[in-house]
Amino acid sequence: MSATQGPAIEVVDVSKRFRLYREKPTSLKQRLLSGRTRSDDLWALREVSFDVPSGESLALIGHNGSGKSTLLKVIAGILRPSGGLVRQRGRIAALLELGAGFHHDLTGKENVYLNASFLGLSRRDTDRVYDDIVRFAELEDFMDMAVKFYSSGMLVRLGFSVAVHVDPEILLIDEVLAVGDEAFQARCLDRVRTFQKEGRTIVLVTHALDQVRQLCDRAVMLDHGVVHAIGDPDDVVRAMRLTILAHDLEFAHEEGSKEVEILGGVLLRDDTPLDGPLHPGEILTLQVDLKANEPVEDPIVSFALHDAANNFVFGGDTVGAGVALGRVDGKRRLRFDLGPVPFTGGKYWVTIGVHARDNQRVYHLQDQRYSFEVQREEGRRDQMYMGVDVEVEEL
C-alpha cells in the first residue's frame, strides 16, 4: 500500500451508454415487434478519465443524474463500460446498499458468511473476523435469528459491519453514511477515518458537501456524464454551488452569507398573488423583497425556473435586464415582469438568489422555494404559447 505502487484506480476514457426503451420491451414478442429502432441512447458517462492514487480519499459529487453513481458502479465492476477501461489494484468492497444480498430466511450468522463471500472473503477469513463483525454491529444476541425478524436498523448495522471488516484495499461508498441513528453514523465515520489512516483508498459518492470537505483529499464533480471539475475539495464544492442556481432539487434549501436577505418572493397575476393555476398567455410577475443587513454594493438578484422533471427552463437576473441596484441598505422590492406565460401546462419551481457582482459570493439563495402551475387547455397539444393578433384589411 505504499505510494510507489502507482494509482489504486485508473479510470481511462470511460463511457457508459444506456439504452432507453420507450416501453421497456422485455419479452421476445415485444422485442421482435418493436425491433431495435425504438431505443434511445443515453450517455451516462462520456470519456471520463482520472486516477485515484493509492491511499487517497476521493469524493464524487454532482447533481442527480450526473452519472456519479453509474461511475461508482463501473469502478466496482458491476457495470461494464461501453468504452474505455477501469484498472483497480487490490481488493474492492463496494458499499452501494448495506445488506445487499441478505437472504431473509437465513440467520444473521449465515448471512454474514454469505455476504462476506460476495465481498471476496473466504470462509476461514470470515471465521477470523466474525466476532468483530458481531461486536461492531452490536447484535451478539441475534445472530441465530433469521434476519427477516430484524429491524431495518439492525440490518443496516450488520451490513456495514460486514463490509468494513472484509479488509478491502479500496472502499467504494455510495451515500450509505447517511443511514442509521446518529451514534451509529458517528461510528461509521470513525471507521472511515481509521481506513484513511491505514492508507486505504476510498471513493465516496455523496450529496453531503460538508462531508466532502471533512473527509476527502480530492473531489470530482460530474455534470451530465462529463468531468466538470476536479481537484481540491473546496474548489470543486464551490464549482458545485455555483451551478446550484440552475439545478437540482436535492439542495432544496437555503444558503448564503445573508449580507442581503430575501424576505420573500411572490408570484403575481394582475398585481394580486396567484390563487390558482395560470393560463397560457397570462402575464406573470415575480416580486422579490430584499433586506440588506449591512450595506452592499450592487448585488445581483437572479431567478430560475425549473419544470417538474427538474429541467432548467428559464432564468434571468438584474444584470441581464440592464438594471443595477447600486448600493443597497435597508429594504428593496423588485418586480420581474415575465410577460405572457409561454408554457402550455405543468408545474414550475422558482429559485431566487442574491449574489455579489463577481459571482463569487452567494448572499442568499432560496432553491426552488416557490412554484406555480399552468393549466393545460382542454384538447390542445401546443408545445408553447404565442400571442396571436389578427388584422384584416380590405384590398
Partner: protein, 278 residues
C-alpha cells in the same frame, strides 16, 4: 482462462449459494430433503402404471426408469432454476461485483446435490432389494455423468443470461423440456425405438439417426447400459456396445465443452448489462 481463475477465486460464493438454496428450500418444510426423494418416487409410481397399461413391460422397471430419470432431473432442474438464477438474485447483481457465472453454476450445484442424494438412496434401495450391478459396464456411469454435467452447465449458462433480456424464455424452457423429455428414452425403451425407427426414412434420412442427434439420448443410454442388465436388456436397450457408447459419450463431452465455451462467451457479453436490465 482468466475467467476460470477468477471463478476459482470466488468459489466460496458458489458453495455458500448452494448451501443457502438448500437451506431455504428445505427449512420451513416439514419433510425437508425427503421432498427431493418424493419426486422420483411419484414419477416411478405413475410411469410404472403407464408402462403396464400401454407398452410391453420392462422386466425391472424401477431400475430402468431411475437410471435415466435421475440424470434427466439434474438437467431439467438446472435449466428451470437456472433460467431464474440471475433474475432471482437481482438485488445482489445490482449491488455487488462478482463473476456472474456463479449464479447459474450454483443452481447446477443445487441440482447436483439433489442428484447425488437421490442416486445414493435409490441405488442403495435397489442393491438391498437384490439387484446387483455388473462391474464390467458400471464404468459407463461416471462417463455419462460427466457428459450430463457438461451439457447441463452449457445450456444453463445460456438460458440464465438470455432470460434476463427476454423474460418469456422461461416459458419456452418449460415447453422445450417437456418435448425434450419425451424425445429421450427415459420412460420407454430405447431398444424399441431403434427397432421401430431404424427402417423409417424421411428424405433418405433414417429417423433413428435423427433421434440420436439428441445428446441426452446418449447420456441416458450410458446410464441405462451401466445399470440395467436384466434378461430383457437385449430388447430394452439399443444395440450399441459399451465401447460404442463410450465413444459417443466422448464425442458428447468434447462437443459439450465447445458448447460451454460458446455459451460462456454469450453469458459474459450479456452479463455486462445485467445490472441495468434487471
Amino acid at each position: 482462462m482468466r475467467r476460470i481463475r477468477e471463478l476459482w477465486l470466488y468459489r466460496e460464493i458458489i458453495l455458500n449459494l448452494v448451501r443457502k438454496e438448500l437451506k431455504v428450500k428445505y427449512t420451513a418444510s416439514v419433510l425437508g430433503a425427503v421432498w427431493s426423494l418424493l419426486n422420483p418416487v411419484v414419477f416411478l409410481a405413475v410411469f410404472t402404471f403407464v408402462a403396464k397399461v400401454l407398452t410391453a413391460p420392462i422386466e425391472v422397471y424401477p431400475v430402468f426408469l431411475l437410471a435415466g430419470l435421475l440424470g434427466w432431473n439434474l438437467f431439467s432442474v438446472s435449466l428451470t432454476a437456472g433460467s431464474q438464477s440471475v433474475l432471482g438474485n437481482a438485488n445482489i447483481v445490482k449491488k455487488v461485483y462478482f463473476p456472474r457465472e456463479i449464479l447459474p453454476l450454483a443452481t447446477v450445484g443445487v441440482a447436483l446435490v439433489d442428484f447425488f442424494l437421490q442416486s445414493v438412496v435409490f441405488l442403495a434401495v435397489i442393491v438391498v432389494s437384490g439387484y446387483l450391478f455388473v462391474a464390467e459396464v458400471v464404468w459407463l456411469y461416471p462417463l455419462a455423468f460427466v457428459a450430463l454435467l457438461i451439457l447441463s452447465v452449457a445450456v444453463t449458462l445460456w438460458v440464465s443470461a438470455v432470460n434476463v433480456r427476454y423474460r418469456d424464455l422461461q416459458h419456452l424452457v418449460a415447453l422445450g423440456l417437456l418435448v425434450w423429455f419425451w424425445m429421450t428414452p427415459i420412460v420407454y425403451a430405447g431398444g424399441q425405438v431403434e427397432q421401430r425407427l431404424r427402417d423409417l426414412t424421411v428424405a433418405g434420412v433414417s429417423l433413428w439417426h435423427v433421434y440420436l442427434l439428441n445428446p441426452l439420448v446418449w447420456v441416458v443410454f450410458g446410464f441405462q447400459k451401466a445399470l440395467y442388465h436384466s434378461s430383457d436388456a437385449q430388447q430394452v436397450l439399443p444395440s450399441f456396445s459399451a465401447g460404442e457408447l463410450a465413444l459417443a459419450l466422448g464425442v458428447v463431452i468434447v462437443a459439450g465443452v465447445v458448447l460451454i465455451l460458446l455459451t460462456w462467451r454469450v453469458f459474459f457479453t450479456m452479463s455486462g448489462d445485467f445490472a441495468e436490465e434487471l
